[in-house]
Subunit: 470 residues, 2 copies
């Protein structure tokens, strides 16, 4: 328990706040003015939670209850398979990848089986590029490969196309045992993957009906792949549960990190900060920026508010990586339009360190690096970037992870999910739907010749008149 | 030659242009109004080129002349080393990664040596995360590893810190032969890597002095890693040379893809499209979006114009990936603020295809997928996304690669570089410097104790008063 207390993540929002050097930034009074709105938002969200509309939070304990069963199945898989391939897209792929990258070695798949603790290699095929998919399928020993097909609806075109291809190949290679190479994660009751798993005998895990794709990491969507790769899913859930509790119980905006981040986000958005940059300073959190970008974009990018008024709102997320993108994006961040806010995610203590060796024979302009740890350089660069942004009047904050472990990653996921839910309330939108994705889906059905979509097909084909092409 | 003609990349900008459905988009007249400005820009750029200020273009033939020597050294490396590790950051890392991912199999490092044509595995360490770096160094057989240290100035802190660590480890493992495991790519005359290569006997390649990091892919920075991995650098350069010639010679805006893209970009930026989304529909081009994001952000994100007037300009690049990000970002792209333009990069014919099997027993809502190629689904999704964006009045264009090969990738690089140069002219800024990166560098020196930076260190430390932290 003592260990865990030390592992609480912190929010440092000093760089968002007014100071002598940045008199135009947000004041305490500005934040205070959010208190009444935030109180209403809190009541609304807790009520939704009680009504089963906020299951990413409400079902955490139930998920903890399922963790043992998931763990046992994952251990069984580890004993019998060398490769675990996730077929999924969007929320079915981003969370599993983000958590894997955060908590497993960067070059995991290239490690020997022993260094992977005899856990399977892990592949996420989150696209339908035929070259990549064919290359992968041809390189794997299918008899030693488990495919995890993830789609809540069971009719995601990309995932189902992958599934049909894999199923056919497995039938050819593994004959009657082909079904022992497919595990599906889908709805409880309905959809193709339910029927197919019953008819063809696939092991099945359930995505609770009240949890949408981008909020589903801490359901079997993310827990099974994590457990298969040896991530401690109990710790992951414990971290999430701790943060969930804190956010639900803490009424004071100034003590509630989700409320604070939502207030800072909303205030800045309304004052023209159309862009939110999420920039971890750790390679392990690179994909977490992708996960967050989906959460933020899909939840908040909305045409209508809850009174059906057109508002075309949203704050565009940008994923970046420290220190790498200092040499790519920071020029724009400091000298370009002041239309962004920045969230850095930092790790206080890395799992490993390396000393930069001293060499007195070197020129002074590199000699000074010697004797420091490599992590010291990374931390110095983060501080220097914060300072440079401050000088340019750019608003920034830090989410500080004492270390990168399952307990802190669990906390981070819930913090960002709750922050998004709060932001939805402040913007008066439904943060849990994605109506704008429908048009593209329907268009795809139409162009692929799905019966019933003939009219749309003609509409699209008529509209395609490539007048300007060189 | 016939083969190459078919391989010319195209620009389809229909989705940017005014139509019945999108009366607010750009008209031909709008574009025509750019003609005089574009003429001036062209003259200015060609003059700069003649004066040695546009060497990314001017030195292409010289680079072609060096290609044979680079190829021979790369072949030698392939025979003697199993791993090729690039140490570099920013422009020294993004181009090599982008080209590698475009032209080598997605899971290249996991392939057997035979399937890699006995070429070395390829790693790019473009960050200083100590955990990742230590994991990598410990997993490699250093006696079979070549490190390519890339820094034009020879004092990039991140790269030099990596270099110092690697050099020490190599000395321990390879003793007197440690220098046979380091090849440097740096300036012709000055900097630590010049001195060190002379004193310690490293093979050295030269980055021409007139080519900055983000424009350096087609110098030894990118050519050596590409050749080592078996990419045809002659074809890559031929593609670049062909596009370079076309752009230099074509005076008519409507026939010049770089001028067209710059005019469309500039026009839209000035009408509030603060964001430019670059979204390839091919896994192989994912990192190309990162490369382009640096090019666009660092070149155009500028506080001052050329008359030293404060303008805080720039268009924020966003990297996305089709179809994957349809399930992550397209909700925002269609329903969020109309503050973006979109560039899709499509590949007409993929190297491989996979048939989605037919199964008449399936439900209609997935049965329709059967009988199509997987690439057909990807193309349908791209079309459907274009259609959805059009309905929402969002401006978009396509760069069309007939196929993904060295010749088309070479063209793509030059198109985007020239487009950026033209955009710099239209915005009246210097697209080739990056003054905003200096502040962060100086801050890092100060915090790491480099002599001469004591005052800045106190300034930063005084400014760090973490008042708001929970």
């Amino acid at each position: 328990m003592e260990e865990r207390k030390k592992s609480l993540i912190q929010l440092d929002y000093t760089g968002m706040m007014r100071s002598e050097k940045n008199p135009k930034a947000i004041s305490e009074k500005d934040l205070c003015s959010f208190q009444p709105q935030m109180h209403i938002a809190r009541v609304a969200l807790l009520q939704k939670r009680a009504q089963g509309e906020l299951d990413f939070s409400a079902l955490l304990l139930e998920m903890k209850g399922q963790a043992q069963q998931i763990q046992e199945y994952a251990d069984y898989l580890s004993e019998h398979y060398e490769n675990f391939v996730l077929l999924g897209i969007g929320g079915s792929a981003l969370g599993p990848q983000a958590v894997h990258q955060a908590l497993r070695p960067y070059y995991y798949n290239e490690l020997s089986s022993e260094k992977r603790n005899h856990r399977p290699r892990f592949y996420v095929v989150d696209n339908i590029d035929p070259t990549r998919f064919k290359d992968l399928l041809e390189s794997l020993n299918l008899e030693k490969t488990m495919f995890n097909v993830i789609s809540k609806s069971g009719n995601t075109s990309e995932t189902m196309a992958q599934f049909l291809i894999v199923r056919q190949m497995l039938k050819e290679v593994c004959k009657d045992q082909f079904n022992e190479h497919i595990v599906v994660t889908t709805d409880q009751e309905k959809g193709n993957l339910v029927t197919l798993s019953e008819n063809e005998g696939y092991r099945r895990f359930v995505i609770p009906s009240g949890i949408g794709g981008r909020f589903s990491e801490l359901t079997p969507v993310g827990l099974l792949p994590a457990a298969v790769c040896g991530i401690n899913i109990f710790e992951l859930l414990d971290g999430a549960i701790a943060m969930d509790k804190k956010i639900r119980e803490q009424k004071d905006l100034f003590e509630n990190p989700a409320q604070l981040r939502a207030a800072l986000g909303c205030f800045s958005l309304k004052r023209g900060k159309a862009i939110s940059v999420f920039m971890p300073y750790a390679d392990g959190l690179k994909t977490m920026a992708d996960w967050y970008a989906q959460l933020w974009a899909e939840s908040l990018g909305k045409r209508y508010d809850r009174q059906e008024q057109e508002i075309w709102t949203g704050q565009t997320p940008i994923k970046a990586l420290g220190v790498t993108d200092q040499h790519s994006q920071v020029q724009l961040y400091t000298e370009g339009p002041n239309d962004k806010i920045f969230t850095f995610v930092t790790v206080r203590i890395f799992d490993e360190e390396i000393l930069i060796p001293k060499d007195d024979d070197l020129e002074q302009n590199i000699q000074f690096l010697g004797g420091h740890q490599l992590g010291d350089l990374l931390r110095a660069e983060h501080k220097a970037t914060e300072y440079a942004l401050s000088l340019a009047g750019r608003l920034h904050q830090n989410i500080i992870l004492p270390e990168l472990n399952a307990y802190t990653v669990g906390q981070l996921l819930l913090l960002l999910e709750w922050e998004t839910a709060y932001m939805g309330e402040l913007l008066n939108i439904n943060a849990f739907d994605q109506p704008g994705v429908e048009e593209g889906k329907i268009g795809t059905y139409a162009l692929m010749g799905r019966p019933g979509y003939e009219q749309r097909r003609s509409e699209i084909e008529e509209s395609i008149c490539k007048k300007y092409i060189i």
